[in-house]
Symmetry: C2
Amino acid sequence: MEFTRPAEIERESMRIIDAELAGRGVVLPEEMKTVVRRVIHTTADFDYAENLRFTKDAVPRALAALRGGATIVTDTNMALAGVSKPALRKLGGEALCHMAEPSVAEEAKARGVTRAVVSMDHAAERTPDAVFAVGNAPTALLRLAEHIEDGLRPALVVGVPVGFVNVVESKERALAICERHGVPAIVALGRKGGSNVAAAIVNALLYAAAELTEPEKRNG
Amino acid sequence: MEFTRPAEIERESMRIIDAELAGRGVVLPEEMKTVVRRVIHTTADFDYAENLRFTKDAVPRALAALRGGATIVTDTNMALAGVSKPALRKLGGEALCHMAEPSVAEEAKARGVTRAVVSMDHAAERTPDAVFAVGNAPTALLRLAEHIEDGLRPALVVGVPVGFVNVVESKERALAICERHGVPAIVALGRKGGSNVAAAIVNALLYAAAELTEPEKRNG
C-alpha cells in the first residue's frame, strides 16, 4: 500500500508508532499518549516513551489554558518556528520568544547571565500565566523554576533541554519544584530533548485543544 | 567542577561526547567527526554515530562551497531558524526556505503535489548550486534527487528527514543518486533525523568554514 498524502502518511505513522509502543509493552493513559506519540513522530526515538514525565493532570490543565488562548513562550526561535500557527490562530493565542530581542542581549551582558535567563525573566514578568516551553537552555529552565518558587504560576512548564552538562539535573530539579507547587509540567528526564521536542509537545497539546482537522493542520 | 559559561559548557559537552564515542569504539575521520559530534550534541543520541553516511569528500567540498558564500536552502522554517546567523554573516551567504511563500501553496494545490516538492522546484531553479538541507519531508528529498538525475549539481545535499513512512527509502535512494552523480551528500540512514539534525549538520559545516570563535558563535 502506498501512502502519498500528508494526512494519510501521518495516520499511518501514528498507527506504526502505536503498534511499536504496544509491542514494547508500553501502556499509557490516552491523554499522555497523544503527547508521547507526537514526540516519537518528531524524533523516531522510542526512548521518549520511557523518559517523559507528566505531573498530575498536566495535560487537561494545559488544554484548558490553551483553549482559553494562553500565550506560549519558547526559549529558542527554532522552537518558536516549530509551533503550529494554524492551531494558534484557531485558539486565539500567540507564541513568543524573547531570545533575539536586543534588550535581552544588553541586559544579559550587564548582569553577567545568559540571554536565556534574561528572556525567562522578561516572560515571567510580561506573560506570567503562559505555557513556558524550554527545549534548549538548562539555565532558562532553572531560572523558571526559581520564579515558580517565588510565586510564578505558569499554565504549563515543558522542560526538555537537551545535552550533557547541567541538563539532567536541571530537569529533575524543575520537575520537583513544579510538583511541589502544583504547577503542571511535562519533562523529558535524562539527556534527551531539544527545540523540536519542545515544539512537538506544544503542538500535540495545541492540536488536541483546537481539534484541528488534517487539512487545517497542514495549512501552514 | 562547575561549568557555567556557554562556551565552557560546549567544550565540556564535546569532551564527554568524544569520550563516549571512544568508549563505544567509534573511530571517525576528523572531518566527519565534526559533523557527527554536533548532531549528537543537538540530540544526545549516539545512534547518529552509526547512521550518518558521507559521500566521498562531502565535507571538504561543502566547506569550499560555504567559504565561497554558498546559499543554504532548507525544507522547513524550523531548520531555517536553527541555522547559525553569525556564521552566515561572516561567510557572506544566506539561508532560505520557500515553504511559507503563498505562491508555493497555490502551485502545490494546482499541481496536486506537496508544498515541499514545489519549494524544492523553486530552489532548484533559483539557487541550483546551494546547500540543500532536508530535515522533514521525504517528498522534498525525492524531488531533489529527481532534479539531480536531470542535471542539478547542488553544493551539498543534507538528507535527514525523520519518520515512519517513505522516509528510510527516500534517504537510501537520494544517497545512491548523489553517489552516482558525484554530488556531495550527508544522509542519516534509518528513521531518525529532523529539522534540528539538518540545522546541526549545516552549523557544524558553517562553524568549520567560518572558523568562528566561541563568542562569535553565541552572538546569535
